[in-house]
């Protein structure tokens, strides 16, 4: 499609869902643009996705080393200019490590890796991936992580909540958040957050694995569609 949004997906050494994110973007009508961690070039993209995986092996702390990759400086500048940035799973961890998002992700409460479909409750429309959704809406998306327990200091958590920076919470099929439907022990069942400006968002679940009904749920479709639409709007602005 001529003039469609260019969505960059960064490959770090150890990225795993980078091809999947590119495929999902294309499936939703965007143009997927591969980006390389060692480059200082965002190739003129309209939005950036930091995909899932185990960047640099996650041997220090999840996302800690990737936070210092050359391309991250470019991403920071892009975010400062208001460009839409989405971090998924390990990408979320990287954004927290690099200070673009609040909080931190630690080992799951069960101490085990968990791969399953979960329900997410949308908490705000003020993010590049929920702009087309209504708070309270439920979407189904898979999680797959060993270190996805969202934590923050008390004051930080209060600020995140009061500023409306929580974008998603883990919920039951009826939309209620409780311990039974909190897969990793995250504080306040938080699955994803945004920055105060609302252009940077990170979440542990994988919207890129929830666009093709033949291989998973479809809750990722409106999220990526929204990202592509925001990116388009930004590009034409």
């Amino acid at each position: 499609m001529a003039g469609s949004a260019r969505i960059g997906v960064i490959t770090f050494p150890g990225s795993l869902d980078d091809r999947d994110a590119l495929r999902a973007v294309e499936l939703m009508g965007g143009v997927g643009v591969p980006l390389w961690h060692g480059d200082r070039d965002l190739r003129d993209v309209d939005a950036v996705i930091l995909p899932g995986g185990f960047s640099y092996g996650d041997y220090l702390r999840c996302g800690a080393i990737a936070g210092h990759a050359p391309i991250l400086e470019e991403v920071t500048g892009f975010a400062d200019r208001g460009g839409p940035v989405l971090g998924i799973c390990n990408g979320f961890q990287i954004l927290c490590e690099s200070g673009l998002l609040p909080g931190a992700l630690i080992r799951n409460r069960s101490l085990r890796f968990i791969c399953r479909r979960v329900m997410l409750r949308v908490e705000t429309s003020r993010s590049p991936i929920t702009a087309d959704l209504v708070p309270g809406e439920l979407i189904e998306v898979p999680i797959k992580h060993g270190e996805g327990q969202f934590v923050a200091r008390d004051d930080e958590l209060r600020r995140i909540e009061s500023e409306g920076q929580v974008v998603f919470r883990y919920a039951g099929p009826d939309g209620v958040t409780d311990d039974a439907h909190n897969p990793n022990g995250s504080m306040a069942s938080i699955a994803g957050v945004r920055n105060p400006r609302g252009n940077v968002v990170g979440l542990m679940p994988h919207p890129e694995h929830a666009v093709d009904p033949d291989v998973g749920p479809t809750g990722g479709q409106p999220l990526l569609a929204s990202l592509i639409a925001r990116a388009m709007a930004g590009a034409s602005a």
Binding site: L16, D20, F113, D214, G216
Partner: protein, 732 residues
């Protein structure tokens, strides 16, 4: 073993094997040479006890692109695509150090697939442990599962299936097998014939450095019993999945850019095996410079460098003109790379270290001219003891069903597979919890169906039938999804082959596999033999695990395992006979592991398979589920639990109720059918000569066995899902 023993014995070589080496060389071997022969002629690397029998397996078939003898087998999927697949065991290392043992098993099989030029797309993990009621078994179980996840989840290859079983004889020796599948364009497969190496070409070692970990590693561990297991811990290698991920990407890029004349993974026997096999396959000699090998620590002896099984290394053969381009690819992925050898005319493998020749021998003497034994064997005792089919049972049928469905062999293994990433790569149509996993072939409508099955308890009673049933069940698991079974790989898990009783089981099992694979037209494309799975003369059950691959022309026509809706007709395909020998019911409810396993009529099996494939292609089935462990009752219960749709059935039969419900007769499946397709489905079954019985209908929250008992889907689900977490002491 005393230090005064001659070196060759300490390296696991027999006196007559030593004499053979002296004869080959025409002189006394040097220490490094002995170490090389010791590793390459080990049971693990040479298959010296099994080769003679493996030759009787059927390996030909129209779909087979690459048969046994390469790093992995390959089948033609059509449209120019090939599936590469293989299974291996890492049981011995896992018995000593479960996390790393299982993790490095995943790493090894993935490199086998990569070395064929294929991108790894799926992993399956068939596992057998001792009962979870014992602390040590829980430690092994939790460690192995964490190791598989810890490695597999970090390399971006989805784990989509496998099976988990429990049996007392596997307490000391857990069985940890792993199967990997990869996709490649058929024209791009890397085999010994597809690429030609030339004299003057260079061998590039890339990936991790070579260290003292795993000296003797698998080849020694897996070539003797583990009676001194604790002392062997340093022989277990340590995995680095991050390095493996980079190794996968770099290797595939080297192939894609056409930079290679050969590619080989480093596994058992390390550099010795990779260099000698590459040279032998090219029909050339090679000069190997150990000083060029990047080492993890100084002062390593030649024999250590030669036999180290450090993980995450590959060996590429490149023409000198392409060396710089190949280096650049490795650099881009941050991998260390070194030219360690040069191919030359002749067939001699020459190894130098600090300017001195430390080994000089014919490459083929390591790879192709090793010893081969026809070990003494004893026919297994004919299956006997009291046959549980005729035991009296006057208990409650519902109680029996709840007990069987909560048996760890039948119960949900969600606890296991939720620790594995099944989504990555975005092609997983069905994974664990389905009878077979289905993975899409990118850019096509094709799906590849994968199943792995072992029938240990049947095998314990009759090794021939156990093996044949494993093939049949794997084929059935693939066929119920609608896929046409194409070919198998296998891992043959047995005790000490030096004991005639074990060798007898092995030979019977090979016959069983050969007969079943011939009848079902699913040839053997390769596999692995894991011997010496015994401790203090107590061997594991003889358990060949079969990895079956099948193809669905249109993955959207995949048939699910569970009832997808209410209002469907339920049919039993096939016939139930009075066969409780070796059944789950007999073990769990009657506490009997005795009698004769069910008969297997391969003609009936074949008819059922072709019916299932055709019915799926005609879109006649709403669901289809293999009927095996736990019999008809469990098959119905599982189909109901899957999506929460209950059923009401009438089991009319001349058999006693408990036999009709729990018999494990072969060649059966439970299907559900929309009312408007019943007639055509029944006609098709009759055309294929498959007996067909209408049992009842799906729908509602209740489960009704008319005239026998009633329960609910929720009660069944609680027993099924809760069993393993409860055994691990976790809240459900």
């Amino acid at each position: 073993m005393s230090a005064e023993e001659p070196l060759h014995r300490r390296l696991g070589l027999r006196d007559d094997e030593f004499e053979r080496i002296v004869e080959t060389l025409g002189r006394q071997p040097r220490p490094a040479e002995l170490a090389m022969y010791g590793a390459m002629w080990s049971e693990h690397c040479s298959y010296k006890s099994s080769k003679i029998h493996l030759r009787s397996l059927p390996t030909q078939g129209s779909a087979v692109l690459v048969g046994p003898g390469q790093d992995a087998g390959a089948v033609d999927l059509g449209d120019g695509w090939a599936a590469v697949f293989k299974m291996e065991s890492h049981s011995h290392p896992s018995a000593i150090e479960p996390y790393q043992g299982a993790a490095t098993g995943v790493g090894g099989i993935v490199r086998d697939i990569v070395s064929m030029g294929a991108r790894p797309v799926a992993l399956l993990d068939p596992l057998i442990f001792g009962p979870l009621t014992e602390d040590r078994n829980r430690w092994l179980f939790e460690g192995v599962v964490a190791g598989i996840g810890g490695y597999g989840n970090c390399i971006g290859v989805p784990t989509v299936g496998g099976e988990t079983r429990f049996a007392e004889p596997h307490s000391a020796n857990p069985t940890v097998d792993v199967m990997c599948v990869g996709f490649a364009r058929a024209d791009d497969l890397v085999t010994s014939t597809s690429l030609q190496a030339h004299p003057g070409s260079l061998m590039l070692l890339y990936g991790a450095t070579t260290g003292r970990d795993g000296i003797g590693g698998v080849s020694v561990l897996a070539s003797a019993t583990l009676d001194d297991g604790e002392g062997s811990r340093p022989s277990v290698q340590i995995g680095d999945p991050f390095a493996e991920k980079l190794l996968i990407e770099a290797s595939l890029e080297l192939i894609e850019r056409g930079l290679l004349e050969g590619l080989q993974d480093l596994g058992g026997a390390g550099i010795t095996c990779a260099v000698s096999e590459s040279a032998a396959r090219a029909g050339l000699g090679v000069r190997l410079d150990l000083d060029a090998v990047p080492l993890r620590e100084p002062g390593m002896e030649p024999f250590e460098i030669l036999t180290s099984e450090s993980q995450e290394r590959m060996l590429a053969i490149v023409h000198p003109s392409k060396l710089e381009a190949a280096r650049a690819v490795c650099d881009r992925w941050g991998l260390q790379v070194a030219v360690i050898a040069e191919l030359e005319q002749g067939g001699t493998l020459t190894v130098t270290h600090r300017g001195e020749v430390v080994a000089e021998l014919p490459a083929t003497s390591l790879t192709d001219e090793g010893p081969e034994y026809d070990r003494p064997k004893e026919a297994p005792p004919s299956a006997g003891g009291d046959d549980p089919t005729f035991a009296t049972f006057d208990g409650a049928l519902l109680g029996a069903l709840l007990a069987v469905i909560a048996s760890p062999n039948v119960a949900s293994t969600r606890w296991v597979w939720e620790q594995y990433d099944s989504f990555v790569q975005g092609q997983t149509v069905a994974s664990s919890g389905s009878d077979a996993a289905v993975v899409r072939v990118p850019g096509t409508m094709k799906g590849v169906a994968l199943a792995a099955d072992g029938k240990g308890r049947f095998g314990a009673l009759d090794p021939y039938l156990g093996a044949a049933h494993a093939v049949a069940e794997a084929a059935r698991n693939v066929a119920v999804t609608g896929a046409d079974p194409l070919a198998i790989t296998n891992c043959l898990n047995f005790g000490n082959p030096e004991r005639p009783a074990v060798m007898g089981q092995f030979v019977e099992a090979i016959h069983g596999i050969a007969d079943a694979c011939t009848a079902l037209e699913t040839p053997v494309t390769g596999g692995n033999v894991s011997f010496y799975n015994e401790t203090a003369a107590s061997a594991i059950w003889p358990t060949p695990v079969i990895g079956m691959i099948g193809v669905l022309e249109d993955y959207r026509l995949r048939v699910p395992t569970g009832f997808p809706a209410g209002g469907l007709a339920i049919y039993l395909m096939g016939e139930t006979f009075p066969e409780l020998g070796g059944s789950e019911f007999a073990e769990v409810v009657l506490a009997m592991i005795s009698g004769r396993p069910p008969a297997l009529d391969l003609g009936r099996e074949r008819a059922l398979l072709s019916f299932l494939v055709e019915a799926a292609a005609d879109d006649l089935l709403a669901s289809a589920h293999d009927c095996s462990e736990g019999g008809l009752a469990v098959a119905l219960a599982e189909a109901a639990i899957a999506d929460g749709h209950g059923f009401a059935v009438t089991i009319s039969s001349d058999l006693p109720d408990h036999v009709a419900l729990f018999s494990e007769s072969a060649s059966r499946a439970v299907v559900s059918v929309a009312p408007d397709r019943e007639e055509r489905m029944v006609e098709l079954a009759l055309e294929h000569g498959v007996p067909v019985t209408r049992l009842g209908e799906t729908g509602g929250p209740r489960v009704v066995f008319d005239g026998m008992f009633e329960t609910t889907v929720d009660e069944l689900r609680d027993a099924f899902e809760g069993a393993i977490p409860r055994l691990l002491g976790e809240a459900v």
